[in-house]
Symmetry: none
Subunit: 202 residues, 4 copies
DNA sequence: TCTTAATCGAGACGGTACGTCTGGTCTTAGA
DNA sequence: TCTAAGACCAGACGTACCGTCTCGATTAAGA
């Protein structure tokens, strides 16, 4: 997190009271609770401040928007993390990933995630933060997963893995955010079936 | 539009003043102008009403949210429409589509579209309307495009075109909404290259 | 009141919803209650709005400050009004006035009045309103009282009644606002004694 | 000043860092500058602290409110002091006093003084300090001035000088703080004219 | 032609959250 | 122990929009 780094560089150079880690944690915790109770859209900075027993100023001092608070609140709990396990085959790896990933997009946690995505589309500054801490790292993991497929000979060596990952993640996000069709096992299997049909460009 | 149908059923049965088409058009025009000037997020119903010289009530009477107004404002100008031409080959069809589609996602019109997508993620009711009038029809056209590829023998007959369309549209939306990489010709060519490598499942 | 006049001139000329007299009265009533409960300084616009069941905007729409609300709240109850009775003698008139006037400067109502005076010293716009509706009319009544003294021959005809009224009201306000000495009967009698010693300038 | 006395009693008995006179003066100087720039009402403790390069705590440690700071800041510059000269006659003494006193009530310094008066009306604790250091001493000087008039035979020996001083100061403050009429030479002459008409009570 | 009823522009209304501001307190490191 | 700095809790500020609710004035059908 950007904050933690700042704090370190602060060292013992500047005078003044330091950031209260107690308040910091209380805010993140309160954000999670409010999210759970009223959802992303109805969540307000005021409610977080009240629940955390914190002045609104203390939130505005350290975060630029409610989306930024939520992003850190989620990141610090790693509950959105999905492991990219090595099952020995590309098919298995992908199916395992989808099996773990899709359920987290249902219900409340899905609403929160789509709320963050919405915020990213409305606020360019938050978009960069969201991409930096969430979107880009995930994609790199998927590329690594596909790379293993290449090494095993399941994908042609000349496959553009970056774009293939765009296609795979794209399909997932497209159905999650935009298209009215379920994110289920059948969908996962059909995606994998298509991926496995890719042959070399000779 | 839902509105137009309602008006028809009204017929000549009820007394009272009819809906003013002048106000209707003034609202859509004002919505477009306000969008152009301040962007989707900063746009308010009040601003549209003021610019259109219209009471807020008149807007609320006919639309449920600012997103609904914007959706109709855009639809009524068909500026987001992209033709799916038949160039004689799947590769040509796809490249032609991307070449026409990508520029419209840049600049102001891109911001408007991502604003609508954001709204869809925050408001389930608007999401349904957005899907019904925008997302689903587009996908059906893409499926039809792919269908021509099957007929020409460029895609295997047993290809799941629905899911393939999810992958293609997904990649486009993913880069548009979430991933920090450009929507350019190179991206289009790489997608097409991958699609053309799909072989039959035997 | 300025408001009432505006409303009258409004007549049926302007469109739009009219000012709600119900809200108007509720705000004045709430202001009186909050004043009673927490005093002038601790009173807030928010508290008035909450107690009146009114949006803050409705208060800000019609009054420029909390002092303006309080001024009208008091004026509309005429509880600060003190009659200037005609007892048949200047001495009697003055003593009667002081006897009625001094008690109202004690306790809660005194605090409210000094709060308004303070506001007038801090806010020139409110000062003008305060003078117009409160200070100047009172003084004119006192001048009229003194005029009766002249007619009865108790004051010399060449007495500058305006300045004499400044002296009398000044002494009262000076002790009320600034000087730590009581506003009691003894003070009233001593003032009257001095006034009655005024002789003609020959 | 209360503060200065406290410092003396501290002597060299107690351990710890002594009060910084440099900070003390910087605060008073900053208070004067901020007063000059933004006026009494808009002045804040924070602004004084920032301009003085001093922690807010250092101000709160030594003064109870911004009014207390201002009171000392002004007192330490004695710019509000007005000498009560002996011109040889009551008329001359009073006119000389008014001539020196009235100009200081105009413009910025007048605003500051009325701000302090306002504060005194809102804050009983400050009111006592204001009376102790400012109001009461002035009045005693005026009483002394009047006393000279008694000794010269210009006022009857049985005149209640305390109440007469209330009338004179009252008239001045009344016009300064409340009544919309100028504090000018004409007003001074009219007051003096009335005072000189006082005869004995026989 | 008159009645009836829905529409219109205008804008006040009750609410709610915003992001800012200030007050007064607390916590640092250093003098 | 005091200082400068500044983060902290608290909560009012005045603003902005929301979506609803009057208003009087149109506007069209049916009586």
């Amino acid at each position: 997190m950007k904050m933690a780094e700042q704090e370190k560089t602060q060292g013992s150079l500047v005078p003044g009271r330091r950031r209260s880690d107690q308040s910091h944690q209380a805010i993140l915790q309160a954000a999670r609770e409010v999210l759970e109770q009223v959802g992303y859209r109805a969540m307000t900075i005021e409610a977080i401040a009240a629940k955390a027993g914190v002045g609104k100023k203390t939130i505005y001092r350290w975060w630029s928007s409610k989306a930024a608070v939520v992003l850190e609140a989620l990141a610090s709990h790693t509950e959105v993390e999905v492991p990219f396990a090595d099952t020995g085959s590309l098919e298995g790896d992908l199916l395992a990933y989808f099996a773990l990933s899709f359920p987290g997009l249902q219900g409340k946690s899905g609403t929160v995630l789509s709320g963050l995505a919405a915020e990213a589309q409305l606020d360019p500054e938050f978009a960069r933060e969201f991409q930096r801490t969430f979107i880009v790292p995930r994609k790199q993991e998927l590329v690594a997963l596909l790379q293993r497929g290449v090494q095993r000979g399941e994908l042609a060596p000349d496959t553009n893995l970056e774009v293939l990952a765009d296609l795979i993640y794209g399909a997932k996000w497209y159905r999650f955010l935009l298209y009215p069709a379920p994110l289920d096992d059948a969908f996962a299997r059909e995606i994998v079936k298509l991926i496995l049909r890719l042959r070399s460009g000779e």
